[in-house]
């Protein structure tokens, strides 16, 4: 009975979170069709317009405008492009690096494991946000720097989980019998161990996308993400933080978007884990 309830909530989580992510993703893909205004167009006559239901709103500027008269809704939609691009690319990169090292450490053990574990220890002793800021400052602002920085600071997350899983799996009978059957170590790792750690990786991937969205927002908040003209959620938030007493909506709407997106990524991952993890099920 309790299991049925767990399954039902995990299904609801997957659908709700997945639904929001799909809507947000489609909106950013079709941004040129959906955005009511040019996100970069400044108009000082239209500065700090309130959202549509308030007095003084102008038609076509649904969520109001910022201090330079730029349309907020359009900027949020275009800002999503950077967020999702970074989420997918950075999470994928962190996943590939971390999983590869984790698999190697967990499966081969011995010196490989000791070296990888030591590096993970060193990485854990860095304040991650500061590390990311430092990396972007060093690499120079830009989309690829942001993606590289996130992958570099967060590969350890995958490495730790995959290493633990691979260690457990490597001791199992079926890996042993594959070895006796004459398969090489690399073959075994790819064919036998990888599919078994896949549910954990997929859940972590979703979680990591949410983290990447946040880190990108933080970087653009401190003005270190991509060029300052292009809209980013963190950039809009930084602006909203400054004009919070004059135009609260500039902070509220991107913040709500960010909340929902990050929450959805993590709940989507948790839901998938609850559904596909054979141990939990």
């Amino acid at each position: 009975m309790a299991d049925a309830r767990t399954a039902k909530t995990s299904n609801a989580r997957i659908w709700l979170a997945g639904g929001w992510l799909l809507v947000a993703l489609l909106a950013t893909i079709f941004a040129p069709l959906l955005a009511p205004q040019d996100p970069l167009a400044q108009d000082l006559l239209y500065e700090r317009l309130p959202p549509f239901w308030m007095q003084g709103a102008e038609p076509g500027f649904w969520l109001g405008t910022d201090s330079l008269g730029r349309d907020l809704l359009s900027r949020i939609i275009y800002g999503g492009r950077v967020a999702f691009l970074v989420a997918f690319a950075a999470a994928a990169a962190a996943c590939i690096v971390g999983s590869a090292l984790g698999l190697a450490a967990g499966y081969f053990g011995g010196w490989t494991d000791r070296v990888v574990s030591r590096i993970v220890d060193i990485w854990m002793a860095f304040p991650p946000v500061l590390f990311a800021i430092l990396l972007v400052a060093v690499l120079g602002t830009g989309l690829s720097s942001v993606i590289i920085a996130i992958a570099v600071i967060d590969w350890t997350r995958f490495c730790r989980v995959v290493r633990a899983e691979a260690m457990g799996q490597a001791r199992m009978d079926y890996v042993e019998s594959a070895r006796i059957a004459g398969f090489g170590r690399f073959d075994i790792m790819l064919k036998e161990v990888l599919p078994n750690v896949l549910p954990a990786i997929v859940a972590l991937l979703s979680l990591e996308m949410g983290i990447a969205v946040i880190v990108e927002a933080i970087l653009s908040f401190v003005n270190l993400s991509i060029s300052t003209d292009d809209p980013t959620w963190g950039g809009i938030i930084a602006e909203g933080r400054l004009s919070i007493h004059q135009a609260w909506w500039v902070l509220v709407f991107p913040l709500v978007t960010l909340f929902l997106t990050v929450l959805s990524f993590s709940q989507f991952g948790e839901g998938l884990k609850a559904r596909f993890d054979p141990v939990l099920r």
Partner: protein, 335 residues
């Protein structure tokens, strides 16, 4: 046995710190920008640039620079900040107390909130109350400190402005402090008017940092408590006549806290890592805020110093938790 454990940990700590120092050094040295060029007015001669490079030791090879710097660090000399032209160690020590106070207050909030929720959840196990706590935990866990901070600025800074949203202390106040631990010193000096002002500035950043950790504590502690509550000695305590709350507090809490403690240690380092951006968000004058300025100004010695201090703090916390665990666990203690 504890001593041996301690020494092993000390050795790994040194290796980790050395690794951190190497990584920062290498990362910073591949930076394309030239900090020296930024310091000088335009039109400075090449000779001036070279002289300044030599002054900061930037004319030597990376390996040489590293060992010179490392030798200095081992003597307590972290170099001179390029942007602020002051001793790095002095700058760091000036700001560190602010960050420590913020982190400790956040930790206290997290432990208090998480602990109370765990005990209530365990007492009301299987009811709607427990389900509600689970949902709240899930939300608090998924949302990082940066977003909580922004949400609090909106709610407590604008909609219902009860707390200060910027800085560490109101600038109009006269501060009688001799240390940088303003909060602790204000309590010690019984200047509760200052304590109140400091807490009013600290509350929102601390709460933003505390929420994710509170959720983790609540979840983990509740789980451990529930597992303990069917054990024989807990049943015996119920027979003795203790109420369910008393049973949880007297018999189960300490044993359940032990496994939670290990995790709280690691999570506390994450919390401290979060101060970097949260301090920025609330313009709180701590180490993290200074670190971001240092990065923007390409202040290499200052960045190195700050990162190393953070790393030292992290490994020390892990060491302390490990030792605390060994001391608190009677079976480990008596060996």
């Amino acid at each position: 046995m504890i001593l041996q454990r301690f020494l092993t940990r000390l050795l790994t700590m040194a290796v980790t710190l050395f690794g951190v120092a190497v990584v920062v050094f290498v990362v910073i040295r591949i930076a394309p920008g030239d900090p020296i060029a930024m310091m000088l007015p335009p039109g400075a001669s090449q000779a001036d640039i070279d002289r300044l490079r030599a002054l900061y030791g930037l004319d030597k090879s990376i390996v040489e620079q590293f060992f010179i710097w490392l030798a200095g660090v081992l003597h307590g000399d972290f170099g001179t900040s390029i942007s602020l032209r002051q001793d790095v160690l002095g700058l760091v020590m000036n700001r560190l107390p602010a960050t420590l106070e913020l982190s400790i207050v956040a930790l206290l909030i997290a432990v208090a909130v998480g602990g109370v929720l765990a005990v209530i959840g365990a007492r009301e196990r299987g009811t709607a109350v427990e389900a509600g706590i689970d949902v709240a935990n899930g939300a608090a866990l998924s949302i990082p400190d940066f977003l909580w901070g922004l949400a609090f600025i909106l709610v407590f800074g604008v909609l219902w402005p009860v707390f200060e949203i910027s800085g560490r202390v109101s600038p109009r106040l006269e501060l009688p402090f001799v240390t940088q631990f303003y909060l602790f010193e204000s309590i010690f000096r019984l200047r509760f008017d200052l304590t109140k002002d400091l807490l009013s500035h600290m509350f929102m950043p601390a709460l933003a940092l505390a929420l994710p950790l509170a959720a983790i504590i609540a979840q983990l502690l509740k789980q451990s408590l529930k597992e303990l509550l069917s054990l024989d000695y807990v049943v015996l305590a119920r027979v003795k006549g203790f109420s369910e709350t008393q049973v949880i507090l007297r018999e189960a809490l300490k044993n359940a806290a032990l496994p939670t403690l290990t995790l709280v240690g690691v999570q506390f380092t994450f919390l401290i890592g979060g101060t970097v951006i949260v301090e920025r968000l609330f313009s709180y004058e701590g180490l993290g805020n200074m670190a971001i300025d240092a990065v923007i100004n390409r202040d290499l010695p200052l960045i190195q110093g700050i990162v190393l201090v953070f790393a030292l703090l992290f490994v020390l916390i892990n060491l302390a938790v490990d030792m605390l665990y060994a001391v608190l666990n009677p079976r480990l203690r008596h060996g």
